[in-house]
Amino acid sequence: MKVALFITCLTDTFYPRTGIAVVKVLEKLGCEVAFPEAQTCCGQPMWNNGHHHEARELAKRMAEVFEPYDHVVTPSGSCAAMIRDYYGEMFEDEPAWRKRATALSDKTFEFVEFLVNVLDVDLRKHGVKWDGQATYHYSCHLRGIGITDEAVRVMKQIEGLEYKPLEKAEQCCGFGGTFAMKYPQISGTMVRDKVSCIKATQAPTVISNDAGCTMNISGSCRREKVDVNFKSLAEIIAEGMGLM
């Protein structure tokens, strides 16, 4: 299966290891991975802040860049939700672009979603082994694409990995893009709530798949002196397969 990777700007610059893991795992599972280098950003920051002209221009670019591929996989639930939930609505008055943009919506998947719902992978058959305790941060925009406990189910297929449930798992970590900078105090109170739930699990590792959430939560953990590791599920799987 041919797959194009949409790395997203934050993962590209802040969490390249996640991108590397996604490529290695997908290749291991028999996919042919391409990385169209012309890609930049899905336009989410502009769209969410009401700058819809700018967002539309970026969406057009996305639609063009990924047009030649059958599947697009991204390690971010947030950017996947942007493409899936809003690319159609964006071009209500431009039917030609609407068609191209929704074509991208239809073939874009978040990485874990792709493993579970498209590749239908069972990691137990691949002998994935990763020793340690870990909790999991559910990023909010997975709601937008209808993902609930898929990642936890995948985690449970990894030998040696002990999953520690997180209290208030469905409560936002307070990132929210520019929200974290526009309303720092509200956002700060939210992320400290998340950190105290993480601390309560006593797990040394937090699995967090969205770069934005990871930046926010790990930054707060560091400030609050809560010593935990952050990894994406892609990294865990790649490590568990002996690929990294």
Binding site: Y15, G43, M190
Partner: protein, 488 residues
């Protein structure tokens, strides 16, 4: 009190919100109470409807949407049918007119004492002071509202108005205002309130209520309460006046089957509210109980403006409060921070619509767009979508500031080309890592994992580092790895 829900405009959220985040009491009560209500809602909805939960929400949403799509038709039907049962129906364009109608009724009947059950619309119109001004003492009978009235405080939640207060505040209010002995025992406190209010019901000559639903087919007002106070207010006094927003209509009685089930489960996690009254007309000749006169005041107060196709969905709201309970922002800042009658996610979209976007530019932005509200809403109002829509309206109407426009324009432009994207990324990385290097925080040698941490940063990132550390980009990007491994 009035200042809490009717602040000076334009309203800025920051001060109250920031105060709330360091208010320990608020953080404990509101944070905890909303979270447990949210859990109760999920259990109640899931327990009753299981896999069909989503379909039931769809249905409830469609019933409301259909009614709104044909609101003129159903309003007429309601007016005809209510009038036929002997109800006097009034229409109020705005809050002031609504209050005038109520005041005129009170004056014409020389009412001296009014018992009132909970109603958000009367908060909107600010009815209570209007009645008191003409010498009609008005007593709130919903326990929460009663305590707020004693404390001269304002509701901070649609369903649980005194969610920001605890039992000791109740004890103090009863001691101070009613001369009761200080007690924190919930049972004893309820008894004190009950004794006090019973006397009021007995003497009252006017009863005011809201209405959860209006049924067009029968002309009925449907009222849901948990304390039974609604029934006293609407049956004991000689006159009953119901204040109801025009969006509360449903076409037929059978629709209540769905609406009542989702309302109770979504607001309190109960299968049904303890008391559900269907009030159809005043007391008939052969009946012993009930008011001699029933008035329904249909309140517009800005709603027809929201009825525009692009925003109509917002009027589906049945005021269950589920979006407030599920909202991580509401949990942290409480209802008063929203500076208006409706708070939480629904308030953040409805208030700017009802009271002018220019007056409430903070509300649509003070959200992380996490989507918990949309998932919770029993009538499926896509609140995040409307938050974004209002942000767009702000940009289009030049309410969002030039700095914001310029930044987004430049940022958007730089993402239009691979080269400028890369230069931007390189600059961000270089400056951040330089600063981290000075701070001595750069970690590990793996170029794809090595990062540093900023504990202070200038400009727009300042807010971030005020609350938490900021990771820097890694030494090398993913793009770099790809070129190296799969290079051209």
């Amino acid at each position: 009190m009035s200042d809490t829900l009717f602040p000076k405009l334009p309203y800025k959220l920051k001060q109250r919100a920031d105060e709330a985040t360091v208010n320990i009491q608020l953080q404990q009560f509101v944070n905890h109470a909303t979270y447990s209500k949210d859990v109760a809602r999920k259990q109640a909805m899931g327990g009753a409807f299981g896999e069909n939960t989503d379909a039931v929400r769809d249905l409830a949403g469609q019933i409301k949407q259909h009614t709104l799509d044909h609101l003129d038709h159903y309003l007429e039907q309601f007016i005809d049918n209510a009038t036929a049962t002997g109800v006097q129906v009034h229409f109020a364009r705005d809050g002031e007119q609504a209050n005038q109608i109520a005041v005129a009724i009170a004056e014409a009947n020389k009412c001296r004492l009014c018992v009132k059950s909970k109603s958000m619309v009367t908060e909107e119109t600010h009815l209570l002071p209007a009645l008191e001004a003409v010498g009609c003492e008005t007593v709130e009978t919903d326990l929460g509202e009663f305590i707020l009235q004693l404390d001269n405080d304002a509701p901070s939640h649609i369903v649980t108005p005194m969610i920001h207060k605890d039992r000791t505040a109740v004890a103090r209010a009863f001691q101070r205002e009613l001369g009761a002995e200080y007690t924190e025992d919930a049972e004893a406190l309820a008894q004190i309130a009950r004794k006090h209010l019973r006397e009021k019901y007995r003497k009252a000559d006017l009863g005011i209520s809201g209405g959860n639903f209006l049924v067009a087919e029968t002309g009925s007002v449907v009222l849901c309460t948990n304390e039974g106070n609604g029934r006293f207010c609407t049956t004991a006094p000689r006159i009953h006046v119901a204040f109801v927003g025009i969006e509360k209509l449903v076409p037929r009685l059978e629709h209540l089957g769905v609406m009542l089930k989702v309302l109770a489960r979504s607001s309190t996690g109960q299968p049904l509210t303890c008391y559900t009254h269907t009030i159809t007309g005043p007391k008939r000749e052969h009946e012993h109980d009930g008011p001699e006169e029933v008035h329904v005041v249909l309140v517009d107060n800005g709603r027809t403006d929201v009825l525009h196709e692009d925003t109509r969905e917002m009027l589906r709201c049945i005021r269950c409060g589920a979006c407030l309970n599920s909202c991580p922002v509401y949990r942290k800042i409480g209802g008063h921070s929203y500076g208006a009658v409706y708070s939480g996610p629904i308030g953040a979209i409805l208030t700017p619509m009802l009271k002018g976007l220019e007056n409430y530019t903070d509300l649509p932005h003070a959200s992380s767009l996490c989507g918990a509200c949309y998932e919770a809403c029993p009538v499926k109002i896509n609140i995040p979508k409307y938050l974004i829509q209002l942000r767009r309206d702000m940009v289009q109407n030049h309410l969002s500031g030039t700095g914001d426009r310029v930044t987004m324009r430049l940022w958007g432009e730089s993402l239009q080309h691979e080269w400028s994207y890369r230069i931007g990324g390189w600059m961000q990385k270089t400056f951040a890592r330089m600063q981290a290097k000075f701070g001595g925080t750069l970690e590990t040698d793996d170029p794809y994992a090595s990062r540093g941490w900023l504990t202070w940063a200038p400009g727009p990132v300042k807010g971030w580092t005020q609350e938490r550390d900021m990771p820097t980009p890694t030494a090398k990007s993913f793009r770099h790895w790809w070129r190296k491994e799969h290079g051209r």
